[in-house]
Symmetry: C2
Subunit: 316 residues, 2 copies
Amino acid sequence: MGIKNVVVAGGGVLGSQIAFQSAYKGCNVKVWLRSEGSIGRAKPKFERLKGIYLNTLEAMKTNPAAYCRGLAPQGATPEELDALKAQVERAFDGLVLTTSYDEAAADADLVIECIAEDPQEKVAFYTELAKHLPEHTIVITNSSTMLPSAFAKYTGRPDKYLALHFANEIWRNNTAEIMGHPGAEGVPATDPAAYDAVVAFAEQIGMIPLKLRKEQPGYILNSMLVPFLSAAEALLANEVADVETIDKTWQLATGAPLGPFRILDIVGLTTAYNIGRLDPRAADPTTVQGKVAAMLKRYIDEGKTGINAGEGFYKY
Amino acid sequence: MGIKNVVVAGGGVLGSQIAFQSAYKGCNVKVWLRSEGSIGRAKPKFERLKGIYLNTLEAMKTNPAAYCRGLAPQGATPEELDALKAQVERAFDGLVLTTSYDEAAADADLVIECIAEDPQEKVAFYTELAKHLPEHTIVITNSSTMLPSAFAKYTGRPDKYLALHFANEIWRNNTAEIMGHPGAEGVPATDPAAYDAVVAFAEQIGMIPLKLRKEQPGYILNSMLVPFLSAAEALLANEVADVETIDKTWQLATGAPLGPFRILDIVGLTTAYNIGRLDPRAADPTTVQGKVAAMLKRYIDEGKTGINAGEGFYKY
């Protein structure tokens, strides 16, 4: 059948991107928001995305470095890129923003939950949503830090519930990790048919699907990235070497374009700090984890939270 | 003053490369070997290195992809490359292989210990060497797994003893991690003058020095690489995703040319297995570490030890 009518719940950084990309790729997209205030805050995000998409497609006509995998096949002609720019305009004009569960849910094939990473808020949202959804609707979460098994039973359709985890700037970083849940007593596991439908949806909106066969905290990427970045942070907090030396070592040895501290500046030091504090040892200043937390806090207190702030481990 | 007379102790994979590279860059190099048998085994390694250096320099005339950072500055002319080929011949012809401590040590400015990763053998070597060395000689270890503080007191010159850790294929992967030891009761720490002399030596033989300010097991690179690769191994052993998906996730998200399983194939699965077994939890088959060890052992038992065997996680 294919997924046509998409609801994105939440208008934050990722929610707005997922909604815009889905609309750009031809879905009918409604964005469900909690309040009129949320609608007011979401609108400029869509304006900004429209500008980014239009500018990028224009730049792709002449500059190979501007190419974004999520926007067009490689080697698109200027005429094709112009047609895609018209698609951006249509996507923007077609977006429906609503605070009504009924309006959002009525004909939804897919709901993508992108609300705050707060379990209580998510439970309340799923519980209410379930009252309004048609039976066939698939529900997915974009949560980075929580597992779908924590919420499956509140969705009214645990077998049609799973996770689809996007990266920031999805038009460029077009990966999507797909993860079901194993079910529990009285809660059926994710149905392979729903899983496959979400894989197909990810491809339909220009993502590269990355399939997980089991539920895994941190999915695939963060399961590797977090210990790697933590190891680099520990080297620095222990004063084994400086930022530049650690990055250079990694780049020279592995050929990677970025060392761990460049990656941390992109991820944001606040996110790294919050992840680090999940480890109870971070509360003890004599442990490596405690030294790392204290070091990150010093940077954050000085406003050096990463590339978006103009400075993190490096200046931009 | 600069280091002119270099002794490399040990003719294994790294020992032979370090000796050849040092000679290529103009040092007088003696290779100390334990026995006539070791000399017989080392000779073909130097023949092979001579061939690699000559072929690479020739290829660098026409093929930019053949460029090796340790061999020449970027953009060397064909004439300059021919001059370097003559240097390869001189390096090869000038190598002295000996089993005599006296012959090796008499005028040594620097001894590079590259013998087996066995603490007893290293202690015996350092103890005997100390009897033959001039006072000014600096001694360094290339050990990957042991710390200089474990051996400083046996060298007769703890303040002139430190670690210089090379990567395999040093003419291409020309990084050298430099690490002193902190000293102990009655054992002075590495003297900054000796540290700086080794930094200068590393540059002199075409390496990029990577400076550690503290002693650190695993140096900089392996301190990050081991937890990163272990995390990838755990995802596979736990059947979260397959080799290709895990590698693709890392490459797409970080822009790295190789995913963890490609890197593991280069490192070698036997090395990964031996590192993993250092963790006592690897003995328990119900732990993640135990599952990883069992998985690696299955590959190794099938002869799939990595790229050098033609097959590891991938076929070559």
